[in-house]
Symmetry: C2
Subunit: 333 residues, 2 copies
């Protein structure tokens, strides 16, 4: 089952169920007006949502044409957004960039940060930055939306709580990262609102692409139409989503509708940009710049500037975008 949230002038939008081919939708309003409402009573409501999807696919409901530009973030605002660091390779590459003195990597426990979740950005809305000079970067990630999880959860509880999967862009202002971290209170100004793909999918609807609590699909990331990366989200993910959820419950329970990010997808390789047709590339600019500094003595890939367009999606073997694309232009307010 695949779901989306459409604009209706209200903060939480309007939940719709999509056809398997993503071409049509039907309103889920009679079952659950919003995605959060569906997540609050998932066991009792999701069968009715699945039935709507089945009737849409069977042609028993005509449905309306689905236009991703009408989609908000699946949860346009959420009660929790926790971003994890599943891919150690990303940490290795960006830590050197940040000039962190603590080079020791946390390979025993995943790092997590608490992100802002009051306004998650629609896939085709602009990335608004207060200033063109803050070293704006994207971070292409897989994210899961979960049901309630108790404090001290087991891996089995964590895995079973994964309701939906999607793609997000953890927008980062690299110039502010060091300030945030040196303040000692963690990320705040360096992490403005995160953007989400238009579509969320249940793990079972993803077939073999969802296994081992990881999404085994390639991302496809372009800046101004140029391919920057196509890493495999299932490869090199040291901490899987069950690990990240378990870690998040060390001292707290997690409410229904909590979104957990897997961290910037990062595969081990020593390519630099531009990437070849079968290259892997990068899911953020900071990593490309780190590799360039090591190889060429200086970073060559610029950070994003107003007017630039970032496109991020996860693609299947046929190259089809599975969750729809995030396609955003950078803009000043």
């Amino acid at each position: 089952m695949k779901l989306a949230t459409l604009r209706n002038g209200r903060p939480d939008g309007h939940l719709v169920v999509l056809s398997a081919d993503l071409a049509h939708y039907v309103s889920a309003g009679r079952v659950a007006p919003t995605l959060q409402a569906a997540l609050d009573d998932w066991e009792s409501l999701s069968p009715a949502l699945s039935e709507l999807a089945a009737r849409l696919d069977a042609g028993a409901i005509a449905g309306q044409p689905f236009d991703p530009a009408q989609a908000l973030a699946p949860l346009p605002r959420a009660y929790q957004w926790i971003d994890g660091a599943g891919y150690l390779n990303h940490l290795e590459r960006v830590r050197s960039l940040k000039g962190s003195k603590d080079a020791e990597l946390q390979s025993a426990r995943p790092l997590l940060y608490q992100g802002g979740s009051d306004s998650l950005v629609a896939p085709t809305d602009p990335i608004l930055v207060p200033d063109a000079d803050l070293a704006l970067d994207f971070e292409a990630e897989i994210a899961v939306i979960i049901g309630p999880v108790p404090m001290g959860a087991t891996r089995a509880q964590a895995s079973a709580a994964i309701r939906l999967v999607t793609v997000c862009n953890d927008v980062s202002l690299r110039r502010l990262v060091l300030d945030d971290l040196q303040n000692g209170f963690g990320f705040f100004h360096a992490k403005p609102a995160t953007s989400f793909a238009p579509i969320v999918a249940t793990p079972v609807s993803l077939g073999p692409a969802w296994r081992d609590d990881r999404l085994h699909l390639q991302l496809r990331i372009e800046v101004n139409g140029t391919l920057i990366g196509q890493p495999d989200a299932g490869a090199d993910m040291h901490f899987d989503f069950a690990d990240l959820i378990v870690e998040a419950t060390r001292t707290r329970s997690l409410g229904a509708g909590t979104i957990i990010g897997g961290g910037t997808v990062s595969n081990r390789h020593d390519e630099s940009l531009p990437i070849k047709r079968d290259g892997i590339g990068f899911a953020c600019i900071a990593e490309a710049r780190t590799v360039e500094k090591l190889k060429y003595g200086r970073a060559r890939t610029p950070f994003l500037k107003p007017g630039d367009v970032v496109r991020i999606g996860a693609v299947d073997a046929a190259g089809k975008s599975v969750f729809g694309d995030i396609a955003q232009r950078v803009a000043l307010p």
Copy 2:
């Protein structure tokens, strides 16, 4: 106007309007079923809520007796909880405890951290800790709940966005603070769910106690019935709530229903525990322990343990609790 959220078996509870003497309530359900719903359309809905309060106070509505034990946190889950550090004295005292090497205080810009907001704890529910040995502390704070604020807000916009005021307990696991900060991603495990007083009040309903974007009331904090602190929340607040909101909008807008904490209330003095009748004392145990270490060479006040009861409220000149008390027992799950 004073509002509360009562238990109704649903995650967001049921919004009620209180009489001025806090003795009675009337359901706000016909105006707004939940506090978040009221905040989403505050300009259009708050007059009807005020009218309910006026009719309740005039005796035109009988109302039901208000029992704080039936109250949830005013927002039992929120889209954002940002905790600021308004009182520099608190930072000075606890930084020495944390052994931070960076002694330079941030007196130009307030520190903020992004807290978890998916499950805010009811005023009389237990404080659940996963382990009795994590150096459990309370932090008594003033918090405001705001309307929407744009990126790069002015002080005037920030001040005007303050909708409601209350008291909270930013529960802290001191043993995990250093780990969280050394990880470099900021507070996470050291800051489990925050607890809230049962009542929120509009700034205007607080009369002269709300001025200069600060709450000029004494807190009253007891552990197991012993007075630990009665600091003045209006004194020594270097960054007021408008400052904290402005800082939070440096790179992002803030959604309606965002909760901003003022930081642990902390007055400048060199008393130690036990405090005298007219003493000031402390709004967290960590500060008491810092003063004890300086004075006696070792900390004497223990952190909280299972079975301990913490009571936190803000009191008026007559000693009456203005937002109702947070009164929680520490428990293992």
